[in-house]
Amino acid sequence: MTDPLLSVQNLSKSYGALKVTQDVSLDVREGRVHAIIGPNGAGKTTLISQLSGQLRPDSGRVVYAGQDITRLDMAGRVRLGLARSFQLTTLLPSFSALENVALAVQAREGSSFRFLRPAATEQALNDQAMACLADVGLSDRAHRRAGSLSHGEKRQLELAIALATRPRLLLLDEPLAGTGHEEAAQLVDLFAKLKDRVTMVLIEHDMDAVFALADTVSVLVYGQIVASGSPSAVRADPAVRTAYLGEEAAPC
């Protein structure tokens, strides 16, 4: 057995008396899609934020590719290949879609302490950015301002930016939130295609998407992992049924 790409060990975080992450441990193997599901307020986004470096855990360790990154900031983790998308769309609204992605290319390629040459004339940046836009199906929106894109297109652009950082591990925080039925289906197709290229940690409420994509599912309730395993095993787990899936989901 090879070492996992990402290993979370006994991670805990509290806001005052509220324990948002309680002794969470999980391993993500390279090439897999690891979904984290759980009811609202279970601490899923808080967990992702600790994995991406936006929040510091109170205790525990995050080990990525054999390296302890618990104290590394977000930019440092991105440079190691650990990218994330945000639940609430976070883009540069006055930049065009192309400029948004080109900036992410620029972050990993060459110095940004260049003051005179217009970045828009750098073909290498534009070409790589266009390739990422093409990957997510946004080529025809390249010159639109990010702020004027539709909600679904913004989600696609978030993903294009994340891909432009050349991630080895992608942390996706509810990538389907707020998208329409067709947009969601397109994004699920896209993730299925990306599975060969990149490992993913996926937080998602859309159970169809989770069970279509995930190799492993962990269930988070009140900051604790109550079950973890293959999708079918988790679905059959009686503790999960009572704690999360409830009666409504029982037939599936």
Binding site: A75, L103, S112, P118, A120, A162
Partner: protein
């Protein structure tokens, strides 16, 4: 520059517009001395020189305030550092403008690096307050500098020379030297805002979180912009001292910093052309309204209220709205 505006044309038609507007402003400025001569109003040249000095200062502030979203309330300190570089060097017998400019920028770079590194640890209103505090520290330093006149300031023996030539001695020479510096500062900043560095700076203004998630740490870029802005503002200070042949701590009081922010708001932040136009109009209004009435500040205040209420984008926003300048929105 034309190939550049064409390259960017699909994404930002407004870019070409504001560049064209800036070129128009430069062209109009260039004919002020002969015009003033023809009208027999030599004072106009002096006023226009002052306008351009403050346009340089406003451009430098626009880099950090408009593009970097760093609201500095202590920017006038660099105006003072530039002016006192002239006073101190000329007292030491160094009258050359180039050396004075280099000294002013070096002093400003040091001051900006130290104060910027500390100030950038704060955000929002705290950043405003801490830059104000550093600005006031510089102000009181020169107020207590008794060998240079302290509070009263000090008159210069003469204007600086340029590589041994007395280019600044007459009003038109002073005017064209200032215009040349204004054009150079505008052109440099215009290129900078489009560069890789400019994109990182502007991106951080839009969303620091997004930039971090791309792999950028904003601090070194913000600090570099802060230092560049300080250095460029000191250029305005050097020219201000030469224009007035007098240096005083009043150049760096917090009123001045506030006035520079007013210029930006009036012209529209984050477009360079707006900052320049705002400075030109502010000084022109000051001079013009001051002649009409000693209560001119009241009139100026009313104009500002009008801009804030009816044209939040400042003058450049107004031009955009009436269709003189297009912008991709």
């Amino acid at each position: 520059m034309t190939d550049l505006t064409q390259t960017l044309a699909p994404a930002r038609p407004g870019l070409a517009g504001r560049l064209r507007l800036a070129l128009c402003i430069f062209a109009v400025l260039a004919v002020v001395p002969p015009l003033a001569h023809a009208l027999d109003e030599p004072f106009l040249i002096v006023v226009a020189t002052r306008m351009m000095v403050f346009a340089i200062a406003a451009l430098s502030l626009d880099l950090i305030l408009g593009y970097g979203a760093m609201v500095s309330f202590g920017h006038a300190a660099y105006l003072g550092l530039g002016a006192y570089a002239v006073a101190i060097l000329s007292r030491a017998g160094i009258d050359d403008l180039v050396l004075q400019l280099l000294a002013a920028m070096a002093a400003s770079a040091v001051f900006a690096t130290v104060t910027g590194a500390i100030s950038l640890r704060t955000r929002g209103v705290y950043f405003i307050m801490i830059t104000l505090a550093f600005g006031q520290m510089a102000f009181f330093f020169f107020v207590s500098f008794s060998t240079l006149g302290g509070d009263d300031g000090v008159a210069l023996a003469a204007r600086s020379t340029v590589l041994g030539m007395p280019l600044l001695q007459d009003a038109p020479g002073m005017f064209y030297a200032t215009l040349a510096l204004l054009v150079a500062v505008f052109a440099g900043l215009y290129r900078l805002t489009l560069s890789r560095f400019g994109r990182v700076l502007t991106g951080t203004r839009e969303s620091a979180l997004r930039m971090q998630a791309m792999g950028f740490r904003p601090f070194p870029y913000q600090l570099t912009a802060y230092v560049i802005a300080g250095c460029l503002c000191s250029v305005a200070g050097v020219m201000l001292a030469n224009q007035a042949i007098y240096v005083s701590p009043a150049y760096m009081s917090w009123h001045r910093s506030g006035e520079m922010m007013v210029m930006l708001v009036l012209g529209g932040v984050g477009s360079l052309t707006g900052a320049m136009a705002g400075a030109l109009v502010t000084i022109a209004l000051e001079e013009g309204l001051a002649r009409l009435s000693e209560h001119w500040r009241l009139g100026f205040g009313l104009i500002l209220v009008g801009v804030a209420l009816f044209s939040p984008g400042g003058l450049s926003g107004l031009l955009r709205r009436v269709g003189l300048v297009r912008d991709a929105k």
